[in-house]
Symmetry: C2
Subunit: 410 residues, 2 copies
C-alpha cells in the first residue's frame, strides 16, 4: 500500500487503517480527523474541498459536510453503514493517489500538534465478561468456596451496565478512588489499596435500533462502526464489598479510559478469525456466532510490558454480545459502547488485569526498574496497545489507551 503521505514503517496507522478521532489544534474547534502515519487528516478541512461530497450523500441525496465539523463522531456514526463504507472507500483513494496531494496537503497536521478528545459522546456503556481465563480466575479469587465458572457463563454473554458519564479519553489522569473497602474481614473507609486495570476492547455502535426489536448477530456489521481499546480501571477492594447482589458499582464507575482512535470494522476485515468452539450450542438468538478478531494486546506498566493478552480467545463474539444486549428488545443508540470484558489468556503472560497477573496480590511482579508491584501505586502509568492484521499484509494498530494514577483527594 503506497501513499503520497509519508508513513513510518512501524506506524500503527498505515494507509490501510485510517481510524477516526476528534482533534483540535491550538484551542480551536474540535473536529473529525483520521490518523495516518505521524499525521492526522482533518476531515472537516477535507470535506470543505468537496472531495468527500459523493461519499457523504445519503439515501435522501443529502450531503452533510457538517458531520465532520463536530465535537464527536456521533453525527457521522448516525449516518449509517452505507455512508461509513463510502467515506472509507473514498479516503483510501484520496490517500493513495498523489493527484489529490495539492488539494489535501493543508488538511494534514502533525499528530503531535493536535489534542485528541473523547471520540464519541457515549450513550450507554456495557461491560461484558467473555474470557474464560478471566472469569475462572476472578471466580477462584472472589468466591473461593464455589465453582469458579457459574452456570450462566457458557449459556449467555454475562454483562452489566457501567457509567457512561465517566468514560474518559486516553491521557486523562485518574484520581485514586476512596470507598468502603473490605480486605479479609476488615471494613474501613479510605483510598483503594487494590487499584487495578482491565485491558479490554470496546465496540462502538453507530446505527440505532428500535425499542422492542432485537438485533441479530448478522446485524453486527451494520450497527457497529468500529473498535477502541478500553481500560476498565477497577478498585478491587471497593468492588468486593459492594458487588453482591447487584454487581460492580463504585469499584468501576470512577473512570473508564478509551483510546482516541476508533478503528473501523472494515479496517479489521483481515483480522477476522473463526470464533472459538462453543459448548453447549448457544441458544438460537446467539447464532450464527460471527467472527472473532485476532488482536494482540500489550500491557505496559511504567515502561515494562507485563503481559500480552490475546483477544482471539474471546469465548463470545462481539456479534453475540450485541445480539444478547438487545435480545430483550432493548434499543441501541448512536454512541453506545460495549466492552469485551477483560482480555485474558493463560497467566501470568496473558493476564489482562493485575488481580490475575499477581494472583490476588500474592505474586508480585518486578518491573524493569527493579521495583515490585501487586496493585497500582500513585504515579504509576499504564498503557495498553494492540495490533491486528490489516489489509495487504500490513499490521494496523489501535494506538494506545494510557492513564496515570494521582493520589486520593483528601
Amino acid at each position: 500500500v503506497t501513499s503520497w503521505i509519508e508513513i513510518p514503517a512501524s506506524s500503527p496507522f498505515p494507509a490501510t487503517n485510517l481510524p477516526y478521532g476528534i482533534v483540535s489544534k491550538d484551542g480551536g474547534r474540535r473536529h473529525v480527523a483520521v490518523a495516518i502515519g505521524d499525521q492526522v487528516l482533518s476531515l472537516a478541512a477535507a470535506a470543505n474541498t468537496g472531495l468527500l461530497d459523493d461519499a457523504l450523500r445519503d439515501e435522501l441525496g443529502v450531503v452533510d459536510r457538517a458531520v465532520f465539523d463536530a465535537p464527536s463522531l456521533n453525527p457521522f456514526l448516525a449516518k449509517g453503514f452505507d455512508v461509513w463504507h463510502a467515506v472509507r472507500s473514498r479516503l483510501l483513494e484520496l490517500v493513495a493517489d498523489a493527484s489529490y496531494e495539492p488539494a489535501l496537503r493543508s488538511a494534514l497536521v502533525p499528530r503531535g500538534d493536535v489534542t485528541v478528545h473523547l471520540p464519541i459522546e457515549v450513550a450507554d456503556y456495557v461491560d461484558f465478561y467473555s474470557f474464560a481465563e478471566h472469569a475462572g480466575n476472578v471466580g477462584k479469587l472472589f468466591r473461593p468456596n464455589q465453582p469458579p465458572i457459574l452456570p450462566n457463563w457458557h449459556r449467555l454473554p454475562v454483562g452489566y451496565h457501567g457509567r457512561a458519564g465517566t468514560v474518559v479519553v486516553s491521557g486523562t489522569d485518574l484520581v485514586r478512588p476512596s470507598g468502603q473497602r473490605l480486605i479479609d474481614d476488615d471494613l474501613v473507609y479510605g483510598p483503594s489499596i487494590r487499584l487495578d486495570i482491565e485491558a479490554e476492547v470496546g465496540f462502538v455502535v453507530g446505527t440505532p435500533s428500535r425499542l422492542g426489536e432485537p438485533v441479530t448477530t448478522a446485524g453486527f456489521d451494520r450497527h457497529v462502526f468500529g473498535a477502541v481499546l478500553v481500560n476498565d480501571w477497577s478498585a478491587r477492594d471497593l468492588q468486593k464489598f459492594e458487588q453482591v447482589p447487584l454487581g460492580p458499582f463504585l469499584g468501576k464507575s470512577f473512570a473508564t479510559s478509551i483510546s482516541p482512535w476508533v478503528v473501523p470494522l472494515e479496517a479489521l476485515a483481515a483480522a477476522r478469525v473463526p470464533a472459538p468452539a462453543q459448548d453447549p450450542v448457544p441458544a438460537d438468538y446467539l447464532l450464527p456466532a460471527g467472527s472473532g478478531y485476532d488482536l494482540s494486546l500489550a500491557v505496559d506498566w511504567n515502561g515494562t510490558i507485563v503481559s500480552r493478552p490475546p483477544f482471539a480467545a474471546m469465548y463470545w463474539t462481539a456479534a453475540q454480545q450485541l445480539a444478547h444486549l438487545t435480545a430483550n428488545g432493548a434499543s441501541l443508540r448512536t454512541g453506545d459502547l460495549y466492552a469485551s470484558g477483560t482480555v485474558s489468556g493463560p497467566r501470568p503472560g496473558g493476564s489482562g488485569c493485575f488481580l490475575e497477573l499477581t494472583w490476588g496480590g500474592a505474586e508480585p511482579v518486578t518491573l524493569d526498574d527493579g521495583s515490585e508491584r501487586v496493585f497500582l501505586a500513585d504515579g504509576d502509568t499504564v498503557t495498553i496497545t494492540a495490533t491486528a492484521p490489516g489489509a495487504d499484509g500490513t499490521t494496523i494498530g489501535f494506538g494506545e489507551v494510557t492513564g496515570t494514577i494521582l493520589p486520593a483527594r483528601g
Copy 2:
C-alpha cells in the same frame, strides 16, 4: 392558595406544585411547560412575554429564554439552583396574581390537548435498593439458603447502573421481553413468564459535578432538581438466571418508565421527614443523612389498587444515595437519574413489586374484575401514582406512570 387559574380540588397539580414537563400540541415543537390543575402553562410562551426574564438571568447576567423552547428539561436544569429557585418563585407569583392573566391566558392549554414526552434526556441511570422490606423479601426469594440481608446493605446504599437509553415516558407500551429464563432447574429461551413491576421514586440531577470530586449529602439540594415516579419493569425469570455475579441486565434493561412531570424538590419541602434511624452509624461520607420524604404511592393493576407502598420508610436518604454515587469521584451530568429502589413496606399491602405481593407467585391476588394474577399478563396495565404534603396544607401529586404490556414479538 388561590390562583386565577381554575384548579379542581382533587387535582394533583395545585398552585403549590408546578411540576415541569415537556409537551407538544398538534405535532408542534416540544417545549417546557408546568402542569397546573387541568391545564399546562407553556413556559416557552410565558418566556416570550418577558415576564420570566429577571428569573432567568444567570450570574453572568445572561437571560436565555431558549431553555424553555427545548425538547428536554436539560438546558433549564443545567442553569443550576439559583435559576431554578428564581423561576419557581416567579411562577408562584404569576399564577397567584390575577393581574398577569391577560398576558398569560394564551400560554395556558388544556392538559388533555397536549402530548407529554420524556421530560429529560437521561444521562446515566442508577437504580438503588434502599428499602429493607424489599431487600429482605427478595433475598428470601432469590437466595433461600442465605441470610436475606447481606452485610453491605446496612453499610452503604447498594445500587447499580441501568440502561439510560430505554428510559421511556409514561404511556409507552411495553413489549414483553424474551430471554433465557430459569424456573426451578429448567432453562428455556422464550417470553418472560414472570414479568413484574417495581414502584420507585427517581431523582433528577440538574447541576453537574467534576470528575474526582465527590458531592456531599449537603450538596443534594443544589445538585438535584426534582423527582419523578419510576416503574422499573423487571423480568424475574431472566433476572434470576443472569444476575450472578455482575447484577441485573436483560431482566431490567428492556424498559424503565417515568412519569412526565418532574416535581421540583422545592415543592416537596413540606414533605420532608426525618430519615429512619440508621444502625450502625454510617461512614462519615454518608452524614449528615438529610431528610426522608413522606410520599404515599399507590399501585393500580387493571383498575384495582393492589398496594400502597410508603416512601418515608426508605432506609438510605436520597442525599445519601447521591453522596454514595459520587464518593469514588464519579461525576454527575445534567440529566442523571437515580431511583430509590422498590418502595416497599410490610407485605402485602405495602409491596412495591408483584414478586413480594404474591410471594414469588405463590399467593395470587384477586383483582376487582374477579380475575387472579401472580405476574403480568399481556394487555395488563399498571399505573403508579403518588401524593405528598405540599405547602400551605395542600396535597400535591406526581401524576402517574403507566404502561400496558404487549405480547412478545415473533
